[in-house]
Symmetry: C2
Subunit: 684 residues, 2 copies
Amino acid sequence: MSSEPVMSVADARSVATLRSLALDQVQTARSGHPGMALGAAPIVHTLFSRFLVSDPDRPDWVNRDRFVLSAGHGSSLLYALLHVAGYDVALDDLRGFRQWGSKTPGHPEHGRTPGVDATTGPLGQGLANAVGMAIAETMARARLECVGGSLIDHRTFALVSDGDLMEGVALEAAALAGVLKLGRLVVYYDDNGVVIDTPAAATHSSDAVCGALRAYGWHVSAPIDGNDVEAIAAATQRAIDVTDQPSLIRVVTTIGYGSTFAGTSKIHGGALDEAEARRIKTILGEEFLEPFGPPADVREFWTSFARRGSAAHADWDKRLEAARAAQPETVAQFERWQSPEPVSDEQILRLVEPLAEPEAARFTSGRILNALCEARPELVGGAADLVAATISYLGGGGDYSAEDRSGRNIRFGVREHAMGAIANGIALHGLFRPFTSTFLVFASYQANALRMAALQGLPVIHVFTHDSITVGEDGPTHQSIEQLAMLRATPNTLVLRPGDGAEAITCWAMALSNRSGPSALIMSRSALPRLDRSRQVGDARRGGYLLRPAPDGVDPDMDIVASGSEVSLAVGAAELLAERGIVAQVLSMPSQEVFLAQPLSYRDAILAPGRPRLVVEAAHPQSLWQLAGADGEVYGISRFGASAPPDVLLREYGFTAEQVADAAERVARSRRPQASAEAAGSRG
Amino acid sequence: MSSEPVMSVADARSVATLRSLALDQVQTARSGHPGMALGAAPIVHTLFSRFLVSDPDRPDWVNRDRFVLSAGHGSSLLYALLHVAGYDVALDDLRGFRQWGSKTPGHPEHGRTPGVDATTGPLGQGLANAVGMAIAETMARARLECVGGSLIDHRTFALVSDGDLMEGVALEAAALAGVLKLGRLVVYYDDNGVVIDTPAAATHSSDAVCGALRAYGWHVSAPIDGNDVEAIAAATQRAIDVTDQPSLIRVVTTIGYGSTFAGTSKIHGGALDEAEARRIKTILGEEFLEPFGPPADVREFWTSFARRGSAAHADWDKRLEAARAAQPETVAQFERWQSPEPVSDEQILRLVEPLAEPEAARFTSGRILNALCEARPELVGGAADLVAATISYLGGGGDYSAEDRSGRNIRFGVREHAMGAIANGIALHGLFRPFTSTFLVFASYQANALRMAALQGLPVIHVFTHDSITVGEDGPTHQSIEQLAMLRATPNTLVLRPGDGAEAITCWAMALSNRSGPSALIMSRSALPRLDRSRQVGDARRGGYLLRPAPDGVDPDMDIVASGSEVSLAVGAAELLAERGIVAQVLSMPSQEVFLAQPLSYRDAILAPGRPRLVVEAAHPQSLWQLAGADGEVYGISRFGASAPPDVLLREYGFTAEQVADAAERVARSRRPQASAEAAGSRG
């Protein structure tokens, strides 16, 4: 295809400006990715100048078109675009590319730069985020039908690279997008035929992936010349006109357009030497030799973008007010989604009672979720094909599908990674509160999506059931060991592991109230007896509390700290210890992070320093050592599980009340802390 | 399609026996997955009775055809098959299905059951494993060309479910298999149209995924009736005849064949009630009502499988001896791959010298790998499109491709998860030693593959570079924080983080010597000065040692423990502390696990109890608390990174020598251990 621009003078000058500003950033920072920015500039130019509707003065306008730069290494191009399009991204911000505290980090970061709709960079995530946004749009559109049309009726655009389309998370999301017929999702494929290590063909075929998406039900365009603005525009219009399929517009670009190294991986990353940069600038036009100087006519050209967005926004405001008059309940609901308040235990307790008899946390969780369906209309989500096991279904919420966009239960399929990334997209969209569910062990399939939620502060709720070896017969492939440690080591992630039905309610209230990052609700497969909290000291809401204090007037000999299914086990152990003349207190610790964030006065009141201590969890002990502190030992599982009935496994891995009591007694009788107490027994 | 068997009496009786024995296991265990076993029995019957060549008396014969049951929940079917086919799986083993210590766990486990070629269950992994096995076969075939044909010339078969083909890891592997034209890979697709939560069509389309694989370059059969043995056989033969494409044979089966709930998700998992089981048994034949009683004629039918395999094995033994005479060097090389010895530091030092000047660990690692190319011909592997950054290339090893099977560098593409699972398949194949490489943060993309390597004890070597915030400008999406904790919490995973070039050599030697599980080599992006080890006490090979002891005759005030790039930082801090009158020793700890496994005498000699201690790592501190013990504090990073030059980040996150010295001084001056010492500074 031609590598010469096929476009009007105005378009060409804008494209040259974007290329030039992108290159200026990389050269100034002495780091970054010039290749894609130079190659893909005509794509974003065409999209933003002719199609995308957004108000740069109000980049959080909820009905704006969304744009996800899935290939986040092209950030300098996005920043250049946001600058000329009128967002609050100044030339000085571009000069600060990749510097501490700037608005222009190495990869786009949502919340840091006006106009950036998703944090991207780890490949594949952005496409799945866009699928989530497109799902959220259809859900909102269906629910917010008002006089004169729905309050939500925008499009979702994304730009993906070869690398994006190699990642499994993108393919999972693409397959689901096809089934769900997300017609307002339009994705540009920057098909430059180059990956970092090699010509892409050595490991990847553009034809193949386009064929795959076509098979998955996508409308896929013929290859478009990446320098032909009119062709890109025509393909975009056709994609918009296809309303019952997501669209992939295949744009054949030249990585590093204008460079001596154009079309090779040499231009993918890194700043260029002065002569090479100058060479490219000269091709773009002499006037671009001076860095950071967008021409006045290009600035003038782009004023129409802000005018279009601002007019659309004003028009939408009028529709909102008309709707408020005509359908006040619909508008009130819509506004309530966007400003949910913290949730108290009492609010949930009004809907769900803990049972007197033992109940698995997953079932309590299922009852809670079910009950929340009506009270929390912003909740939407589903499972990775394990609803029947995770009991995570909004009863009465209906199934979301291509035919019924009002459904609130999403059938993600066996696609854990995309589930996480799609949930992130729903959260980024800003209207709904997404939840996901699967077995805890499969958190390992979606770890990078979980991290992206945490990094962006997205309030996604993850219900992870079947924690630990009590999964039983399904065996070690299905039994979590290291996942709790992984989640607890992920910054800004609230991990909650309730010990009975009452704590499950508290944990759900905490998760619903946590709007600054994801929450992981860890729910047992096995039944948990209702804990006797008649003598409770402290509050589960503070992360940990003294469930079973020493009898009044008696000095405790030791503390046992536990979470989840091990809390009742610890109570059983304490009872055995009492028979042996050892006074053991039991602390329940549904959330380490929350407990450790309490003031020292609370922590010391609950877990006094200087007393022997055993921290028990049927999981890898790594995350227990901090709680053990100077006075304690840990009691966990440092090897993989096995296939056997749960009771057998608990015995073989040292998790009967008797075995925990034995370990606790050793701790109580030897005040000097020791090295890791590995659970007894050996793998059969 | 017909659901009535279309097959000879002998075939029908064998299929009925497999169905019956599979059901017997589930009913006896009162748990398991009857649906797929009942549905897919004709597939495995046909494959094993007519095509697959393996010697049940020597299930580890290296030139056997491989079979991976990717849909591992069909384990009862596989065990039934292994029993009738003559493997060392007795009826009593079948009676022990899913019980502690049995040969018949809930999901197939490699190494536990003769004839099980891979541990499966987490969906998608098995298909990627099979791709790895098929790659290994082509590599061996190319390298072991001898008189009378190559010593390795087997096929790789797999059976996948709808769920497998939804998983991203499977799609990544399938895309690569197409590019690599793996003609001896034959995969059956158990297309039963049902997933657990819903009819599959609600979330997945069989037509779509078949179309996708066709686009990826696979030979995909027309739909075959799952009860038509002759049709399955004909499709298998066609697939075998297609030698330049991997093949997918789409077999339309009825989940839970014979059950009232056939064709629904109700029959996917769980034992059946007595009446329902009896109903199915009656359909299979009255004689099957008695559990665990395979008919004599079926036993007789299956003797031909063992005869075929045993004859092929004997024939192969002759070829091996002929080759040994004609091409002794080739055979010696082949046998050496299979019994590699431990590697000493000295062996590597003969090939690679540590530099006097500072060198990034990734570059040292690259030099080592390069040098190992000739010395270790069993090493094969590559990167997820980051060779240029991870420096993980076997110089002179050639690029592996469809055209050149002798190449040893695999271009995995941007497919981290499949890279891990394919490497597992190469390791399972048994001839080659696979390595992979990517940035440490992307360990989160492949966490479940890493766990499967650990669970199976596979000696895969993972080179993870660009650890921590020193990634710099690329920002938080590319900076590992929680990954070291995740890896260290994964059982049976050796994590090695060298502090300079000499330690990089030791760590590589340790990784090469570790054959009982995966090793993770954590290599810095930034340059590491050569450490002064003139006064060293202890040995890096033991996981940790005293790099900088107190001067002779001087009592140390404290210890600083560090790994990787923080070791030289700790030395710098110790020098500053010396100026402040504090004698700080510095311990280098390239491997916590190895150090903690040393006898107490070694540990106490290196890290004496009762002395103030600061444990430093530019990563989440969770995995440091155990080392901190009763006497210490941790100094890590509990939040995400940021985009800025590395030096700026190190200062902002508290990782200058001055800042570490300040923290250490606080510890030295206050012997009472305190809560987590979060690094100074705040996110800008």
